[in-house]
């Protein structure tokens, strides 16, 4: 996204006599020559002043002084300069004090995220040598790393996420603090851990990220059930950026026994639908080994599973890692060779038809209808009257004709 509307916000705040800068990830991206996805703004204006200046706003963390400003159809986070008081729960400060730009930067997590940019003067304000660390490709905590991680243990995973995604190294003192504090990660809620793990898996460089999670000791804390194998590394290397979250977790867990998988995804508080998808993916992966001997109707039913592309993609990753693509190639060609209406054609007959033929509703209905569908999927029946004759021929019992 272009910075123009964000610059207008800064200008408006300045016109009212406040200080205002771009801050955080967007400045890092600009230094790297990447177009930021969104812009955060830090200002000396207090929330109630920000709310008065812009017509469309929502308070999203009034206690932290954060206002969402809607400008030209885009949401921008405008946060008042602050320093945080003591953190009690390893996540949130007990209170905040509104301060100046420098103090605001010093409370932030990593130097690469601590740069300010003045879009009017086109200058970067760097209180923490963030530009040096960007050049050196280092993720370094601002100030004392132990203190930073003590305030919020999730920052340990965030350091790894930035390191992996940007291809940076975690600076030695910061890394040492992570190694020492890894066992404290349990103080963070499982929801927040899930979110961070999922981002490490889906934002690109998943294998690098998970290797760091493993090396830091966090893997042993968070996923003790997981075996960190060469096969898994190869698989994660094949996981595409932007993959669906539940699919990414399935790739991570596909070699883990099913009952353990269920424990992990339940612990990480995935939704029912996501848990189901992960388990179904892992359970059905071995089916690809039998794919050559499946009947056409069984194969078509397999292809009809919800989000079958994910099953196919998991098979691609798993088979590529195993250096044997025969089953996957066979499945993929079959899958591509059939149209949706060939895989899931409309039913030729229904229960109504069977009642009309004099059958008494019961378990036999399912048996007959499944059989008819089998014949249809195999290509031996394609018309309604063929199906009706087939029923008469094989199940007799009809009183009308």
């Amino acid at each position: 996204m272009k910075p123009d509307s964000a610059v207008e916000i800064v200008t408006k705040l300045r016109d009212r006599g406040h200080e205002a800068y771009f801050v955080g990830g967007c400045v890092r991206d600009m230094v790297l020559g990447i177009e930021p996805a969104d812009y955060d703004i830090a200002t000396s204006a207090h929330p109630e002043q920000v709310v008065r200046i812009f017509p469309r706003t929502a308070l999203i963390g009034a206690q932290f002084g954060v206002v969402l400003v809607i400008h030209r159809g885009h949401p921008f986070e405008v946060a008042t300069f602050r320093s945080d008081d003591a953190y009690v729960d390893g996540r949130r400060p007990t209170g905040v004090t509104f301060t100046d730009a420098r103090q605001d930067v010093l409370r932030r997590d990593f130097t690469i995220n601590g740069l300010l940019y003045d879009p009017v003067a086109d200058t970067i304000i760097d209180y923490i040598s963030g530009r040096d660390d960007i050049s050196a490709k280092l993720v370094r905590a601002i100030g004392d790393p132990h203190q930073r991680f003590k305030e919020d243990k999730l920052r340990m995973l965030r350091a790894i996420r930035f390191g992996a995604r940007l291809g940076y190294t975690v600076e030695p003192e910061t890394w040492k603090a992570i190694l020492e504090m890894a066992p404290d990660i349990h103080q963070v809620s499982n929801e927040r851990i899930r979110e961070e793990l999922v981002r490490i898996l889906t934002e690109g460089q998943a294998v690098r990220g998970m290797q760091m999670v493993h090396d830091s000791g966090l893997r042993q804390e968070l996923l003790p059930e997981l075996e960190w194998t060469g096969h898994l590394k190869t698989c994660l290397n094949l996981l595409r950026k932007g993959a669906p979250e539940d699919f990414a977790i399935a790739v991570l867990l596909h070699e883990t026994p099913i009952d353990r998988i269920i424990e992990i995804v339940e612990r990480l508080k995935f939704s029912r639908a996501e848990i189901n998808h992960v388990v179904v993916l892992a359970e059905n992966l071995p089916q690809f080994a039998d794919i050559h001997t499946m009947s056409t109707s069984t194969l078509k039913r397999f292809f009809r599973m919800p989000r079958f592309e994910d099953h196919l993609e998991l098979a691609r990753i798993h088979s590529t890692a195993n250096n044997d693509l025969r089953d996957f190639d066979f499945a993929r060609l079959k899958y591509l060779s059939w149209s949706q209406s060939e895989i899931a054609p409309p039913a030729l007959i229904s229960g109504e038809d069977l009642i009309g033929m004099g059958f008494v509703p019961g378990p036999v209905f399912r048996e007959i209808l499944t059989r008819i569908e089998d014949e249809q999927l195999e290509g031996r029946l394609s018309k309604r009257d063929q199906a009706l004759s087939f029923v008469r021929e094989h199940y007799g019992k009809s009183k009308s004709s």
């Binding site: 996805a37 469309r56 929502a58 999203i60 969402l68 809607i70 159809g73 885009h74 949401p75 939704s271």
Partner: protein, 74 residues
């Protein structure tokens, strides 16, 4: 005596279909469509307040909606 308890689940803005969005008060087919377009353009909602950036969502409408939608739904 039997008690009927209706459980209202908040609708996930990031996964809801146009049809599901239409079930919200004050949201018709065209607004539902706009919400989905906004979501696709932005790559998803980061917080429910971003609904305010969707053209056609007034402050008043937003106030009735905010309790009915979520983005990181549990």
């Amino acid at each position: 005596m039997r008690m009927l308890v209706a459980v209202l689940l908040a609708l996930n803005l990031n996964t809801a279909t146009v049809r599901q969005l239409e079930s919200l008060p004050g949201i018709g087919p065209s607004l539902a469509q706009k919400i989905v377009q906004f979501r696709e353009k932005k790559g998803g909602f980061k917080r429910v307040e971003e609904l305010l950036a969707v053209p056609g969502i007034s402050e008043k409408r937003w106030k009735t909606l905010r309790e009915l939608v979520c983005v990181k739904c549990e």
